[in-house]
């Protein structure tokens, strides 16, 4: 027997897991034998992002417990094993599988369950709730057979469930008992605007509807009958009528409970039995249940601190303000959203054209913010919340906070004014001081801040504010957050793109004269060259464009460390005939080039002197090769597997698709290089999920993944759209690439671009798929211009004898650069290093 005490954690939801993490972090976990019981078949997953399960239909995507984390910390987890009883006198717990464990301390983290009102017919088949992965699996299976669905309950979770039904291609209805949607969080005006926006998305909203009965339908599975006599027929029903604490264990073991359920806790999260703590949605504090993740996490921390004595945090209630994106609609509610505080004043801004509703509730003297509702545009959420939480005095005309900004005026909150203790991210409990601290330790991007503090990794509602604090701090530290491209242009890359498009500027000279100063430099010249190419796609060495190109683009090869260049012909999809392969070998042999298969499924020939480049390319082009743009900030390769043509698992012709893609996008100049891949089935041999755009074949078409990256900071691509046909796939990629070209920073890969984009993946989907910005037609047009005007730069160059002159090393001599010296290694050349006096001994 060890002298450790026995700690039993009941419930392995997000809060139970957060408790375990806090315990491990405190360093005291080794004082306990820790046993965890979870009723669900898998370790804790991120319920807040439950809906994200649909993206991959893979539970791993929302898993919260890293592989091996529990065993590594000596935590025993029993899944699918519900605790049935707590015997407080014998100090034991009994589980469904028959385990009886004695305990010293218990943590109850049993969460809550969805409330299903006892309407007659509520227990029919094809009626669901929306709480677990199993629920979603069941809904998905049912949706395959049904056409229509209804969600009963128009609250926050109900609308989320409705989105899921809509995405499953069901004709979707939301049935709400109250006269408006989200009655708890938002006011009448906000509810109206939200309703309009949701109806625009094709979801029918029925408010003030009391469901009395559910029975067999005539044209669908169910018939719902309402108190007002109306009826609605649907195939699938999802109840989302509120949650109730899972307090059954407390009831049977006679812990103190609230009148309407919930286990009563004190500020340390102890129940009426000091050896039993309760945290998360099951706990009742000050007669309140907290149905959000942030307060649950705060309780977990308080319980852990009290248990271990390692800290002294207490749970002292929580702010229930929320910001969400429901069906792509921004919705936020802060504090006293309804203006219930006596004598409070409110200011409202309604914009019917853009479908935006904003209201603030302030104290009678206009000094303090009490609450707010934002629909359609919640960009002020972060600063408003801070005004309220920190009781900061409002500007003299507080309505300015929600009115559209007149040019140059900023009425928002100066982040400087925020106290260090201000909690910026409530999900992860990150304060301003934490963010500042991370910046001092070297963080310079929102991505760095996420890594260092976890801020903005929960609901994401705080991202904009965190970015402001980050930039403010960087500025203070003298780090330039100046977004000017360089000293010659007081514009960002994106500004210049728009200028070039709108004014139809064709040359750097005109751009500089009209909008810049000086002679330009090695930053703005290549940037302008890339922008001009993205817009007009002229031959890059046309005069005077040629002077803007980096040496790699100018010589159409990557300069190596010794001043020689590489030669990388395009080998679309990695497919090559034996004859062409022989040509590559012969050319490499003739010009004595180092030869290597690249990581991008093609062949790289190194060590070509500038004067040899045209000769080498002449031979390659005559043999049917084209430039591979290995030097350009442009499409590199579209990697592919063999696909269904050969592979026993392939479900589509991945090879054919990759050729289509590579030939379509070759030559597109972009903010940074672009890489793609196509896999013939889910085994993913082409590693498409590490590419800017990855395509994976499905039985029904193609899944499109976006913004993946290998390289310095690998990032898995996100699933963007599923089961696309060829035409739609191309359409989305056209739009995506052109939108990237328009809006990314210089040398910003798509991964970083998306990570820095407010709204992230969802926003990108709304722009590319739903055409939220109404730019898709333009984007497609722009892409077709680029596609139609493709030319092989090497071919165009060789066709013009004038241009051949520039490849000689000397303007006045035919000699070669004597500084280029090779030695042999493994039977091939390599540059001789400067201090290599003796010949290398060649080992092979």
């Amino acid at each position: 027997m060890s002298n450790k005490s026995n700690l039993v954690v009941i419930g392995n939801g997000p809060v139970g897991h957060h408790f375990l993490e806090s315990l491990v972090q405190s360093g005291k976990s080794t004082d306990y034998n820790i046993t965890v019981f979870g009723e669900e078949p898998r370790p804790a997953y991120d319920r807040v992002h439950l809906t994200a399960w649909f993206e991959t239909r893979d539970a791993a995507a929302i898993n919260m417990v890293e592989d091996g984390y529990y065993p590594a910390n000596d935590i025993t987890l029993y899944t699918k094993d519900k605790v049935l009883a707590i015997d407080r006198s014998a100090k034991t717990v009994t589980s469904e599988s028959g385990k009886v464990l004695s305990y010293d301390k218990i943590i109850l983290a049993t969460g809550s369950f969805p409330f299903v009102p006892p309407v007659p017919g509520h227990d029919r088949e094809n009626i669901f709730v929306y709480r677990t992965i199993e629920d979603l699996e069941a809904i998905t299976a049912a949706a395959e057979k049904g056409k229509t669905g209804a969600v009963i309950g128009g609250g926050l979770l109900g609308l989320e469930a409705a989105k899921a039904l809509k995405d499953l291609d069901l004709e979707t209805h939301v049935v709400e008992f109250a006269p408006r949607l989200m009655a708890v969080q938002i006011d009448d005006g906000g509810g109206k605007m939200l309703r309009k926006k949701i109806e625009d998305l094709g979801v029918s909203v029925h408010t003030a509807k009391n469901t009395k009965n559910i029975s067999d339908g005539e044209n669908a599975v169910h018939k719902m009958s309402f108190a007002d006599g109306q009826e609605l027929e649907v195939d699938i029903i999802v109840f989302s009528a509120g949650i109730r604490p899972r307090d059954e264990l407390a009831k049977s073991s006679e812990l103190k409970m609230g009148e309407r359920g919930g286990i009563v806790i004190n500020n340390q999260c102890q129940t009426s039995d000091k050896d039993i703590y309760a945290i998360g949605e099951v706990a009742l504090w000050d007669n309140k249940i907290f149905g959000l993740i942030a307060p649950g996490n705060a309780m977990a921390k308080a319980a852990c601190d009290h248990l271990t004595g390692c800290g002294d945090s207490e749970f002292a209630g929580a702010d229930m303000s929320t910001k969400l994106k429901l069906m792509g609609v921004d919705v936020a509610s802060i504090g006293d959203a309804h203006g219930n505080t006596p004598n409070s004043r409110s200011y409202t801004y309604v914009n019917d054209r853009d479908e935006v509703y904003k209201k603030i509730v302030v104290s009678s003297d206009d000094k303090y913010l009490l609450g707010a509702v934002l629909i359609g545009d919640a960009s002020e959420y972060g600063s408003l919340l801070q005004f309220m939480l920190n009781k900061m005095e409002l500007p003299s005309e507080p309505e300015g906070l929600i009115l559209p900004q007149v040019d140059g005026q900023s009425t928002g909150l100066g982040v400087d004014a925020l106290p260090d203790t201000a909690q910026l991210c409530s999900c992860m409990n990150v304060t301003k001081a934490d963010v500042v601290c991370a910046v001092e330790a070297g963080a310079t991007t929102i991505g760095d801040i996420k890594d260092a503090t976890k801020a903005a990794t929960g609901c994401g509602g705080c991202a904009a504010l965190i970015t402001q604090v980050l930039n403010n701090q960087l500025e203070k530290n003298g780090v330039e957050v100046n977004t000017d491209l360089c000293e010659h242009f007081a514009y960002t890359r994106q500004d210049l793109y728009n200028i070039i498009r709108i004014e139809k500027i064709q040359s750097f000279e005109v751009l500089l004269e009209k909008h810049g100063s000086g002679l330009g430099c090695d930053i703005c010249k290549p940037t302008a060259a890339s922008l001009l190419a993205s817009c007009w796609n002229k031959y890059i060495l046309e005069k005077p464009l040629h002077g803007l190109q980096d040496t790699n683009d100018y010589f159409m090869g990557n300069m190596q460390k010794d001043g020689t260049y590489s030669v990388v012909p395009r080998i679309p999809g990695g497919e090559i005939t034996p004859d062409k392969l022989i040509v590559l070998g012969e050319v490499a042999k003739k010009y004595n080039l180092y030869t290597k298969i690249t990581g991008g499924q093609r062949v790289d020939l190194f060590g070509a002197r500038s004067e040899e480049l045209p000769l080498i390319w002449r031979e390659l082009i005559d043999a049917g090769f084209e430039t591979g743009h290995a030097y350009g900030k442009s499409l590199r390769t579209v990697k592919s597997c063999v696909g269904e043509t050969w592979c026993r698992y392939g479900v589509q012709d991945s090879m054919g698709m990759s050729l289509l893609l590579e030939n379509r996008y070759k030559g597109l100049r972009s903010p940074h290089k672009l890489k793609m891949a196509v896999s013939g089935c889910t085994r993913e041999c082409a590693e498409a999920q590490s590419k800017d755009v990855g395509v994976i074949a499905t039985e029904n078409g193609w899944n499109m993944y976006v913004c993946g990256n290998g390289g310095m900071k690998p990032r898995h691509a996100d699933l963007f759209a599923s089961d696309l046909d060829d035409v739609t796939l191309i359409k989305y990629i056209d739009r995506l690439f052109m939108f990237y070209v328009r809006t990314a920073d210089r040398l910003q890969r798509t991964s970083v671009w998306m990570d820095n984009m407010e709204g992230g993946l969802e926003y990108l989907q709304s722009v590319i798929i739903d055409d939220k910005l109404e730019v898709c037609a333009e984007l497609e047009k722009e892409m077709s211009l680029v596609v139609d005007s493709y030319q092989c730069e090497w071919k165009s160059t060789l066709d013009d004898p004038e241009r051949m002159k520039r490849f000689s090393h000397f303007v006045n001599s035919d000699q070669s650069d004597d500084n280029v010296v090779f030695t042999q290694e493994r039977k091939q050349i390599r540059p001789k290093s400067k201090n290599e006096s003796i010949e290398l001994v060649v080992i092979d």
Partner: protein, 116 residues
């Protein structure tokens, strides 16, 4: 012609048109590699010459860099690691301790000439 011109021997290197405006080319001059740049500054054509050897990469590549200006100095960016060199003085902008040799250069008729 000034006195200096009479003392030094100017040698024809190439035609002016062999070097395109705002670009550089490398010339072989008394066994040294010289990067010559034609730069249009406020409508006036200027010509510069500095050594072609990049002290950072040890490669002969300066002539292939992009020409521009930084705080009113006319510079070239070495194409491998992008350090800038003042074309008038050969001084490296990023590292005070480093500079490259400069050469006397001029247009003479339609020729470009270098002097030792």
């Amino acid at each position: 012609m000034s006195n200096i011109d009479q003392q030094v021997a100017w040698i024809d290197i190439c035609k002016s048109e062999d070097i395109l405006p705002n670009m550089g080319r490398c010339a072989l001059f008394e066994n040294e590699q010289v990067a010559i740049f034609r730069v249009i500054e406020s409508g006036v054509e200027k010509i510069y010459a500095i050594n072609n050897h990049c002290p950072f990469s040890q490669a002969n590549i300066i002539s292939r860099g992009i020409v521009g200006c930084l705080s009113n100095k006319t510079v070239v960016a070495s194409p491998l690691y992008k350090q800038h060199f003042d074309l008038a003085t050969g001084q490296c902008i990023e590292d005070e301790a480093i500079s490259v040799k400069t050469y006397a250069v001029r247009f003479e008729g339609d020729m470009i000439q270098l002097a030792a």
